[in-house]
Symmetry: C2
Subunit: 314 residues, 2 copies
Amino acid sequence: MSHAELAEKVLAGEVRSIARAITLVENGSDSAADIMKSVYPKTGNALVIGITGSPGAGKSSLVDKLALYYKEKGEKIGIIAVDPSSPFSGGAILGDRIRMATLGLDKNVFIRSMATRGNLGGLSRATVDAVAILDAAGYDKVIVETVGVGQDEVEIVKTADVSVVVLVPGMGDDIQAIKAGIMEIGDVFVINKADREGVLRTQKELEALLTLAHRPDMWNPPIVKTIATENKGIEDLAAAVAGYHSFSTSEENAGHKRKEAIAKWRLIELLRERLLTDALRKNGTEDRLSELAREIAEKKLDPYSAVEEIIGNQ
Amino acid sequence: MSHAELAEKVLAGEVRSIARAITLVENGSDSAADIMKSVYPKTGNALVIGITGSPGAGKSSLVDKLALYYKEKGEKIGIIAVDPSSPFSGGAILGDRIRMATLGLDKNVFIRSMATRGNLGGLSRATVDAVAILDAAGYDKVIVETVGVGQDEVEIVKTADVSVVVLVPGMGDDIQAIKAGIMEIGDVFVINKADREGVLRTQKELEALLTLAHRPDMWNPPIVKTIATENKGIEDLAAAVAGYHSFSTSEENAGHKRKEAIAKWRLIELLRERLLTDALRKNGTEDRLSELAREIAEKKLDPYSAVEEIIGNQ
């Protein structure tokens, strides 16, 4: 199948072609280029929701329940679960299968795990491309869920239309750890497992931290309490997400600035990947890299001089 | 002060010069190059210990107690705390001050926080450079502590001589979340807060996971129980760290392969940063980038065509 045919089937919402296109964008920017050029102009209709928070906060259950909520409203939902710390990608992950069973194996819910492959990076770029594919394929909501709270995850979640940060009660340490960087990206905050002790304290701490954050758009992020496993608070979460979305789209300028900032970040990510791929592809560079690594390990050479040699030879 | 003078003072262990050199490597690979070329040949004497684990696991207390333990043995200890999700770097962080007070403000303990600056990345490279500076400056142990468990953190910790993964009891979810990627990097595992309920269960789960992991070096990672806040188990941790270190250095080949792999990763990181910096520095690229970002945000252009334009113009 040519890339043009594949793109056509993706735009028609054909599930197997969507999965195939996502595999292509995972494999590298080269294979992604053709398909993304066809798909990109058709994006912009889905509401993209990014969900992050520390491990153990119950993000997966929350995402599943939110997806079910939208599904019952008759919408199509795509879920991308990003795990930069795992070397495994694709539908083969056991977790995906279990989740598909919970959510119902029908064409209105698409689930995909994405992980880091090799040492050339590109996961952020691949994730954003996968979101664009689902968007263009007609999914109404695309939920991007991350496993950790590292820089990659923060950057990925920042590219969503609405970013949700999930916490659990009684994690004083955790809030401190999550601090500045991630506090600033939350448009909506969730305290999940809200039947646990310490909800009020966590809420107070969170409110205190939020008063310190400076948002250029003057939005005051709501705090929603949920018990995902009992399906409680999911409607409130959906309402908070919709609330921020309508706020951000009414604020013409702010919304546009955000889209531009995302586009710039995306461009830099792609450029970074492309430059490295091109450089490594040049005749003999891969072999030379291994030789240089050996010399560095033996302290015969420092990494900076080695890089100058590689660049000088190109 | 010239870079050569600065490098000389770093090698003499002069604390303010060390701090200044680390600021230079944080500022970018350009300023780093000169200093690192002088410093790199003098590295290789410190034992570099990487410590990672999920937020709330009590890593900071554990690191502080371990540092105190080494200090009481008469050693010099450097600590680099890496937080990719935070935009703040340097000694200005309140946390650093508090920790310095705990550890004693003397010349035998050096603490530095490092965070992500701007959107050009380079944190991993800067961290590894900072470790090399402390190594060359005569610190006996350099501890690299990460806040999260994202891909950046995993990569940074992988560059240590000994990697320690910290867990806490009763985090079943957490272990699942931490799974494959991070399990594979642990040479030593710690169950901290071992006075909490569920220690045995966490230990069993961890043992089960470890039997699934395949280590090329046949090392069987020990599990150490600690209560960092009460200074319990710290000696066991130090013994486990020393145990893996002597194992890995006796295994000639395996140890060397690891050093080569680290050198290659480092080379690629540095190359990636340098290529992007060079590309963006070319006449007009920065301005053009903003224009292209605007066109992408307006869906007049896709990111892939934009990157081809940038590369084509260079």
